[in-house]
């Protein structure tokens, strides 16, 4: 059944697959060839989602659909990547840099890793140890998909591969920096993360590109947490203002594991992140925090799903949005409590601040509860700066503009809670809306 639409974009990627698939990583592996060809077949059927799909009701991808992204990958440096790296690098991290979707070893920097930690390019890992990856790809094949994730399955060229043996804990975060440098380029990064039992790691997935280029990123990150594992994932989306960014992060949690997700979205003309975690065993914890800041004509969409499948899971979700100009934000937060997931404790909140008359918010926090011994609550608000707070600050001598900035910043700042890495925290503080406060 064809329920999507077909235009220059779809035709373009189908042609690209036909041309390039022999050169993609793992082309010699029968199982991976099959995964890719199944995916492109499904994509040809699915096409891109339309606003008739409930999950895409508020986000039209027609602007992507109309475009052919036909700039081929070109390994020659145009200097943009180096400049972007200088701006976006974070001290105190291991760093994997990907330029236009391919690993750039010259820009990457890995400090000494403990034994049992594999960190590197996925393409390289597929070439070296395909056996360790097969089950992950096959499992991924069964994950819920839309046209974009399916397309990524077919066309991914590289991404990060992080494999931690049981008990291995990395002290330094891994900074995965995806830099796009060329106009009209489409890249399909794929990251695979496996944290063994009691393993722990912090990942910073960072996407950036120039404001004057129109390009497309279709990223998929899959994280598998073993028993008692701890994975913190921070996404920093600073794509160029003319770019399209569609990304999915799927986590699967084993018993006693803890998954933390922070999503900060600042860039993109049209940006969407899907963040889903399945608490697939007992006593899991998930914490999802997000901040989206939009201005101009940006459209920023977050779809999250916390799936409590087994008893005694705890989840906390806080998403905040600050919208100015004619920006539009979409938030859809789904919390599922399955019949066996007794003693689940799930709290969710989404708060939006509208700063301009043309800004828009569509929010849909949703609870689907099939068990009775649960504590679940959600809340959503849309509003503007509080007039009483504004007046109070002004009555203490602070001028209106400064008072507004202060309140905007205060609204956004608590999404930084739980970010412990100094360089990342400082970077995020500098990106918060409302500007920097003078030091108190």
């Amino acid at each position: 059944m064809t329920n999507g639409t077909r235009g220059p974009f779809v035709n373009g990627v189908l042609a690209r697959f036909a041309e390039e698939h022999e050169g993609l990583p793992g082309a010699a592996l029968p199982w991976l060839r099959r995964v890719r060809s199944d995916a492109i077949g499904r994509f040809a059927e699915l096409g891109l989602p339309t606003t008739r799909h409930e999950d895409w009701k508020y986000t039209s991808v027609a602007a992507i659909e109309r475009r052919a992204f036909d700039t081929p990958f070109d390994a020659s440096s145009n200097g943009l990547a180096e400049r972007a790296l200088a701006r976006h690098a974070l001290d105190g991290t291991h760093r994997l840099v990907f330029v236009d979707g391919r690993y750039a070893p010259g820009l990457s920097r890995l400090d000494t890793l403990p034994a049992g930690a594999q960190v590197g390019s996925l393409a390289a890992a597929i070439a070296a140890r395909p056996d360790r990856l097969e089950d992950l790809f096959v499992a991924d094949d069964e994950a819920p998909a839309n046209g974009f994730t399916t397309l990524n399955s077919a066309l991914w060229a590289d991404g990060a591969w992080i494999d931690l043996a049981p008990g291995v804990v990395l002290d330094m975060p891994i900074h995965l920096l995806f830099i796009t440098t060329r106009n009209d380029l489409a890249s399909f990064p794929r990251n695979l993360v496996r944290a063994g039992a009691e393993a722990g790691v912090t990942l910073i997935e960072h996407h950036a590109g120039p404001d004057d280029a129109s390009y497309f990123t279709d990223a998929v990150t899959r994280i598998v947490l073993g028993k008692g594992a701890r994975v913190a994932h921070a996404k920093l989306q600073q794509e160029g203002r003319r770019s399209f960014h569609i990304a999915a992060i799927h986590a699967e949690q084993a018993q006693d594991s803890r998954f933390g997700s922070h999503a900060f979205a600042f860039g993109g003309q049209l940006a969407r992140s899907e963040i889903a975690t399945r608490l697939g065993a007992e006593d899991c914890e998930a914490k999802l925090v997000g901040l989206y800041v939009g201005s101009g004509r940006q459209h920023i969409d977050h779809h999250t799903c916390i799936d409590h499948a087994q008893p005694r899971g705890t989840s906390r979700e806080v998403y905040k949005g600050v919208l100015d100009g004619a920006a539009r934000a979409v938030f859809n937060g789904r919390v599922i409590v399955r019949p066996d997931a007794q003693q689940t404790d799930a709290q969710q909140s989404n708060r939006n601040l509208l700063l301009s008359d043309s800004a828009e918010v569509d929010t849909k926090p949703q609870l689907e509860i099939w068990a009775d011994d649960v504590k679940c609550a959600h809340g959503a608000t849309v509003g503007q700066l509080d007039a009483d707070q504004l007046h109070y600050l002004r009555s203490r001598g602070i001028d209106e503009a400064a008072a507004r900035s202060l309140l905007i910043r205060a609204f956004a700042a608590d999404t930084l809670e739980g970010i412990e890495h100094a360089a990342l925290r400082a970077r995020l503080e500098s990106l918060l809306p409302g500007g920097l406060p003078e030091a108190a």
């Binding site: 939006n352 700063l355 828009e360 569509d362 099939w370 609550a377 809340g379 959503a380 509003g383």
Partner: protein, 482 residues
Amino acid sequence: MGNQAVQLDELISQDYRHGFYTPMEVDALPHGLSEDVIRMISAKKKEPEFMLEWRLKAFRHWLTMTEPHWATVRHPPIDYQDIVYYSAPRSQQDGPQSLADVDPELLRTYEKLGVPLHERELLAGVAVDAVFDSVSVATTFKAKLGELGIIFCSFSEAVQNHPDLVRQYLGSVVPYTDNFFATLNSAVFSDGSFCYIPPGVRCPMELSTYFRINAKNTGQFERTLIIADRGAYVSYLEGCTAPMRDENQLHAAVVELIALEGAQIKYSTVQNWYPGDKDGKGGIYNFVTKRGDCREANSKISWTQVETGSAITWKYPSVILQGDNSVGEFHSVALTNHYQQADTGTKMIHLGRNTRSTILSKGISAGHGSNAYRGLVKVAKSAVGARNYTQCDSLLLGDRCAAHTFPYIEVKNASARVEHEASTSRIGEDQLFYCQSRGISAEDAVSLIVSGFCKEVFKQLPMEFAVEAQKLLGVSLEGAIG
């Protein structure tokens, strides 16, 4: 646990109280739906040409539509050709002129239901329009209301006696193209209530419609139209029952409310259609479109509903807040037990300036019941200063029931303030045990907790209804814990 299970099991034995059937000679059309059937319905009702045309337009549009499946309810396919679209007690063929003309068998039915139609026996201050299968059988206190210029009659009478009002307002809130079930209703609706309150008049008594499905395989498609002219006020109550049958029966009603400048309409429903048995067999499919239009400034429409019956309930009483400073309210208690399913909520469409809406939804799920709140709060660009507050609470009894919350919030105006809160709690065995250890029976404990949970909604109901609603909840919950 064992002890209270026994106690609660005993409670199951009490059956649906309104499940009897009144044998009646009926005048009914054959099964099925076609233009001819619609022409016959219209002819039987001696309708003017504009009504027939409207029905036919609706029918032709309906043929292009498909049954919606987006709600979280599941049901076997409905065979729309296996439904009788018109059934009336033969004795009522020409419509009763006064209560004296009403078939005594019908009067007895309503008495059995606790809805006496003899005016002298009526609760003071409630005027009743009774709808039996497809037609209105009696309207009380008509004369008294007439003195104030209030029109309260069956829809059929309104078409005959006030065609201009009907023509002006019918379909002006729920157009015949609105949705699958509303369109079907527009084509085949057989009767219902009509009410018009003239400017500045405060209706001195509660107006009430009592709906009864009696005949087998009959769909009930009634239509209610209420117009409160400038500065008018009316409080309207609606009650519903049906006999127990193994087959599912379709009820697809449409209610349209229009409030002009400064007018207020309060619409309360206690819906107790037959819910099916404890294994989910039989029961009414209650697919209803209810919408109010605060058409002019400073008007107010409040919906209050207590939904305990029906196998499946699918309804979203909504308010279009067009007039500046207009107010919309939705207060709901929806209870699903056994295999009942409810997908209900509201839409508050803010168009005018400084419009306000409040949504208070209480869902109670027990047994294998499934209860979904689905609501939309939409603030259009024009709705400067709009405010909404929504609170949705779910109470779960037993570990096989489900409670879902799907609030859609769409805001296109920065001066709006919209707040949504939802929570879920349960009645746990530990709570029941605690109450029992203090000498309170499990039954009383459940009803205590449930009525506390629903208190804020019951407060909105007129007194007699509130008492009835409370009793209904108790009965509907029987067998919920075991």
